[in-house]
Amino acid sequence: MGKIVVPFGPQHPALEEPESFSLLLEGERVAAAAVALGYNHRGMEKACESKTYIQNIYLLERICGICSHAHSTCYVESVESLAGIEIPRRAAYLRSLIGELERIHSHLLFLGVAGHEIGFMTFFMYAWKDREIVMDLLEDLTGNRINYGMNTIGGVRRDISPEQCERVLKAMDQLEERTKYYQQVATEEETMLGRLAGIGVLSREDGLRLGAQGPVLRASGVARDVRRDDPYDAYSELDVRVATDTHADVYGRVVVRVLELMESYRLIREIVKNLPEGPISVKAPVKIPAGEAISRVEAPRGEDVHYTRSNGTDKPERVKVRAPTLANLAAITNMIEGGYLADVPIVIAAIDPCFSCTDRTVKLVRAESGENRTIDWQGLRQYGIDWYRKQGIDMEKIKISRKDM
């Protein structure tokens, strides 16, 4: 059958979010792959410049539904270091508690998605049933199932009562038992292992060279975790054990995430046991003094970096977000090429992609000449109209019927 180019995306049942992979197929083998980003770009970084610091917390939280607390924490930490304020210990512990609960929720979601991609719908249903336990717990603690709105500049917004602590501990017992069962299934079920083992191999050197992050790198044997290397919030007082695996393939990534789940249960029990007393927030100034700050947290997918620059007013001058999936994406083509078409969905799912996080402003440079070009809004609109006119469609004839849009 010769070589054909199959578009995998942007709309595809295997991808939860749009991303374009063009695969050059020879029979069932992938000879080459190319990635095109940008389908989820919403102009968030620009929107941040016209809102106050507190309004930006809610905006940046909605970059992604699954790692929302990580983005919010990272942003708030950079603003707090610009303002020079120190949050109370109880607030730091509560932030870590929500961060770990979010990690559990994200990894259970990944287990379900991995099951879905290999056609194992039963595993998907069971994993997401357990995810409901965590979602209900988060709704109990923060008031919403995702996009928690827990952070504010100077601390957290809600406190936790002793009854809620009891419910947290009971949920952890339930989830630990279920996760042990999933560990057994993932290591013993023959059809599942046949789809996971030996697929999407990323060696240690390739991982370090291409800049892979989070569980993808930890599955290749590199023990890198921001919670241990550069502790923030309560992690400086907790003992975080980094989970690694030497398989360096999709199976290794599943194993690493399951081990991280068990570690999170242990950390949450420790946090709830050692929760210090005290206030949950301090008063923060409305106008933040001028300066620039970088902060990073361990999102469920890897290292999340935020940069904030302020100029003394109540609105930031520039906010930049680097999500972990952007770094993992460079390793994708390496992992897909040479494999089967049937393995592409599970390899993509194994880096746990969050394309909503990924698509921020990136400076693109032409490969041959090294030049780049900036275009303003009017120029972009005219470029679009000209392009469509070449295709035979005249955009200026389209009437806009809604007056309030």
């Binding site: 809102k51 106050t52 507190i54 309004q55 930006n56 809610y58 905006l59 909605r62 039963t122 595993f123 049933k129 409901e132 209900d136 709704e139 109990d140 008031g143 919403n144 996009n147 709105g149 504010t152 917004r157 809600r158 069962y181 057994q184 299934v185 290591t187 013993e188 079920e189 023959e190 059809t191 292992l193």
Partner: protein, 119 residues
């Protein structure tokens, strides 16, 4: 090396077959909502002093405070439910605690005008 075989999930599946299912038949049965769920906003007119702090801090420009005509020191709040992101910042910022989140989440409507309501 653990033994690998086909059908690891059989026993658990059989147990699930005879158990009551975990999903509910919504909307015939009501969904469970937690105690402090951030649902639709509720306004207490007696407490409002018209400082409009809530309109200034809202990230989505979803709430507006207007004076009730022909009455002294009475204000009404109009909420754009299609813009509100239910963050609760207005609830936190109000100095007189005149706003609070209810547990109502069934807010779907057939026309946009019905979503812009006075609360």
């Amino acid at each position: 090396m653990k033994r690998r075989y086909v059908g690891k999930m059989f026993p658990y599946m059989m147990k699930m077959l005879v158990q009551k299912p975990d999903t509910i038949d919504y909307p015939h049965h009501h969904a469970h909502v937690a105690e402090h769920f951030r649902g639709a906003l509720k306004f207490e007119q007696d407490k409002c002093i018209g400082c409009k702090l809530c309109t200034r801090v809202c990230p989505a420009n979803a709430i507006s405070i207007e004076k009730v005509p022909d009455e002294e020191k009475k204000y009404k709040a109009i909420v754009f439910m299609d813009k509100c992101i239910f963050c609760g910042q207005c609830v936190d910022s109000c100095p007189k605690k005149a706003l609070h989140n209810s547990e109502d989440f069934e807010l779907a409507s057939m026309s946009r005008d019905k979503l812009r309501r006075e609360i």
